[in-house]
Subunit: 494 residues, 2 copies
């Protein structure tokens, strides 16, 4: 499908409409916002198999995966709707007046309010869950912000269909249509115009480092800088501790063969780096992993751009001195197919070659053979920020290597013990965000209802009469939400 | 007192020590961190009147004000210590495992962890409360971060003394001395070297727009950008609604005469802009305010730089076409004294002259005479972000002017009804932060224990055994803190 880029003039008009819609949408109760989100979920479900068909054509993703992802997207909408209503994200705090103090202490009540129109950039690798009606959009709606989605050109037809579902939901809920605006743009000028527009107050992005960094820079160079949450780049290191490997090398290798190749390696949490101690157990791990990898066929990648990148970056990584390919799918790839590949190198080669630290987006992993635990620590301190880090270890090894364990924690947002990083649970305790360059701000998450807080800011109401306060802050607590009252958690009136 | 600038080589050495101290300090329990903060408070108190004397010489601030500010600083340390122990700021979230789900849901537990060494820039106008052992330092210590303070050159001797108190507290608590590092630097190179140093993970600043913006840009241009919370510039508009003025013009004017001149106008929350409807009541307000202002004497300003800025910016504001001076202290100022001044202009003149939108740091306020409520709204939409906005209004006027009331809320962090913006309560519900350029990130505050969250980020622990989890996340909840367990607030075991 072909769609024309939205022009700068059109963007101007649309963003004024978005601002007007903000004035209406922000006044909706939490319950009404949640109802809107649930209606989007229903409308998205109603798109049925027709949606799956188009997305399959656009992304080469298999039907089962797309069905799962749609289910996840609907779950996100419903679960963030429930979180929106529960109101914990509002961080309501109340300190009641002390009129007889000198000077008198005024009544003070604080809660989060929406930032304003949020621009969401659809992700190539998640056409539903991190695109048009995905996590960022759901969080922004929960926060009370209108959304402007720039469709990913790789699945613009899918985006168009999902956008239709969102717009129908807005209509059914009696909302101004501009609460959701859908824009096409293959050129970078469209993204630039959106991020630089004064009516835009925040940005959500999932994609490449290059793309995310560019948005971050544009946003910071505005007259009024705005927050960008960009989830960009992560190689998700896995640390194989020697005692654990001594008993579980085969089991771990089998588990990782699945995680590495899942979705042709096109998940943000794909384990691209495996760090072990160079011994027989690690060799057994590598041999077992290799045996699994050579059983795999090359898989269709999302789009020609991602395929081209994979081919180039994989070739470049393999061409580095001291890097050896140890396993590759024996089947010749067709056009746009990614070939599962495992390479190895030494700790010192890795440490001294930054090219090897960079993401190779696709089914490629590098195993590092460290001399000893000291070198494993040295490798760790040379790694950049990551979405996840995983320890394959026994409990006593964790206790014995505190410095290493802390150093690993320093570089990640999600810290996994004896598991795989693929599979991102949608729940409040999830952290999908990490130190730069994994994301632009490690203090926020793009998965789980805490993601709502990216798009809201606190306002303190000082000395307001009870009748004029927002429902969330009124004395009688009509919404029955948790609030912190004079430093104590409470649902009571106050 | 004269202090030599710390050199770049010295900064390198110190920051490596800070990083090492971080490895120790982060492992302290919440209780131990709180104990350290309370010990700082005791040591600061023990500096006695000698501290007040030096600060008085360095800043020209009167003794009563300095006594108050020291009390406030000690209160901050103790109250953030209590908040640190209470642990609400950790945002502990737990989602328990569901092993029989397909796929099984892993145990997931999330809490905030410290970012790492934090650089704090002392503020000219708060030698205690927003300087060496002030709010930013207290928040960073509560979060588990070591602190590097760059002394404000305007009160470097004060800073040196307070730094001594912090260092003694560290020693008494058995902490590595580098948990707190004190640096002098009159040149901007020192600040640049600090913000650009890879070991630094966050920055706190209170001061001018120019200074804060520069730090923000340096931080964003790093290879690894880091968060900067800079509190920079605010003219704290006050909106005089006509019905309220019809009954309370004299009372409001008297109240504001005090607020405008408090501390020679050198508070971040000084009301620099008063917006009313041009009628007899506003004239009565202006006349009463003027009568109070002309009773005042010029007051000593903090330092020659701030004095020079005040003289220039005040003169420039008064020289603008359509601006009329209506009240000025009749006494000739001595060197470094700021003269209380009130000027007026029309709504249209204000809207079309951005020079009038800028802060004149000192005892200067501009009253805008709007034609009508529509023009008051127009003025509002031309204002930049502010720390505070104040409505002097009756309840029914708030109900009748929803668009205006919302537009005002959009530009501020603290929203005051019938009061004055000066006087910033230290409590959890305080918001001291606002849309740019009031601060660099409106989602955070520098007053109140929520300020701790500027210096911490979430980490999710997936599938960790209970014994290896941090105390805060263990099943039995040994610290007895509030946690969100399977979406419900609880202090229970889980």
């Amino acid at each position: 499908m072909e769609f024309k880029d939205t022009t700068a003039e059109e963007i101007n008009v649309l963003l004024e409409e978005s601002w007007k819609a903000f004035q209406v949408y922000r006044k909706l109760s939490l319950k009404q916002r949640a109802e809107f989100m649930r209606t989007i979920a229903i409308e998205m479900e109603a798109l049925g198999d027709g949606l799956l068909r188009i997305t399959g054509e656009e992304t080469q993703l298999p039907e089962a995966r797309l069905r799962n992802e749609r289910t996840r997207t609907i779950f996100q909408l419903n679960s963030y709707a429930a979180a929106c209503e529960r109101g914990e994200w509002l961080e309501a705090r109340i300190d009641t007046a002390v009129p007889d103090r000198n000077p008198p202490r005024p009544d003070m009540r604080k809660m989060l309010v929406p930032l304003g129109p949020v621009v969401v950039f659809g992700a190539a690798n998640f056409p539903y869950a991190y695109s048009t009606a995905g996590g960022d959009t759901a969080c922004a709606f929960a926060a009370g912000c209108p959304v402007i989605v720039k469709a990913h050109p790789g699945h613009a037809g899918t985006s168009e269909m999902v956008a239709g579902a969102v717009s129908r939901a807005a209509e059914k809920c009696g909302l101004p249509s501009a609460v959701f605006i859908h824009i096409h743009g293959a050129s970078f000028e469209v993204g630039k115009a959106l991020v630089e527009h004064p009516r835009v107050k925040a940005v959500g992005f999932t994609g490449s480092f290059q793309g995310g960094k560019q948005l971050f820079d544009w946003a910071n160079q505005r007259k009024e800088p705005i927050p960008v949450f960009a989830e960009m780049s992560s190689i998700n290191p896995v640390f194989l501790f020697p005692e654990k490997m001594n008993t579980s090398a085969v089991e771990a290798a089998t588990q990782y063969a699945g995680s590495i190749s899942l979705g042709v390696g096109q998940f943000c949490t794909n384990p691209g780096l495996i760090i072990g101690i160079d011994n027989e157990d690690l060799q057994l791990f590598i041999d077992t992993l290799s045996a699994e990898i050579v059983k795999l066929s090359p898989g269709n990648m999302l789009n020609p751009g991602i395929f081209k990148n994979y081919v180039e970056k994989r070739a470049n990584a393999l061409a580095q001195e001291g890097v050896e390919m140890v396993a590759v799918s024996p089947i010749d790839p067709e056009l746009n197919q990614g070939t599962p590949t495992i390479a190895t190198t030494s700790g010192q080669v890795f440490i001294h070659n930054p090219i090897l630290h960079r993401e190779v987006f696709g089914p490629y992993s590098l195993v590092i053979r460290c001399k000893d635990m000291a070198e494993m620590l040295e490798v760790t301190t040379h790694l950049e920020g990551q979405l996840t880090a995983t320890l394959m270890a026994n409990d006593n090894e964790i206790r014995d290597h505190v410095d290493l364990v802390e150093a690993i924690r320093d570089i990640c947002g999600r810290y996994i013990m004896n598991g795989v990083p693929t599979g991102v649970e949608v729940c409040l305790s999830m952290q999908h965000g990490g130190p730069y360059p994994a994301t632009t701000d490690s203090r926020f998450t793009s998965v789980g209802a805490d993601g709502i807080k990216r798009f809201a800011r606190p306002v303190a109401f000082q000395n307001w009469s009870n009748e004029l306060l927002p429902e969330e802050l009124k004395k009688e607590n009509p919404l029955g939400i948790w609030r912190t009252v004079n430093d104590e958690k409470s649902k009571r009136e106050s």
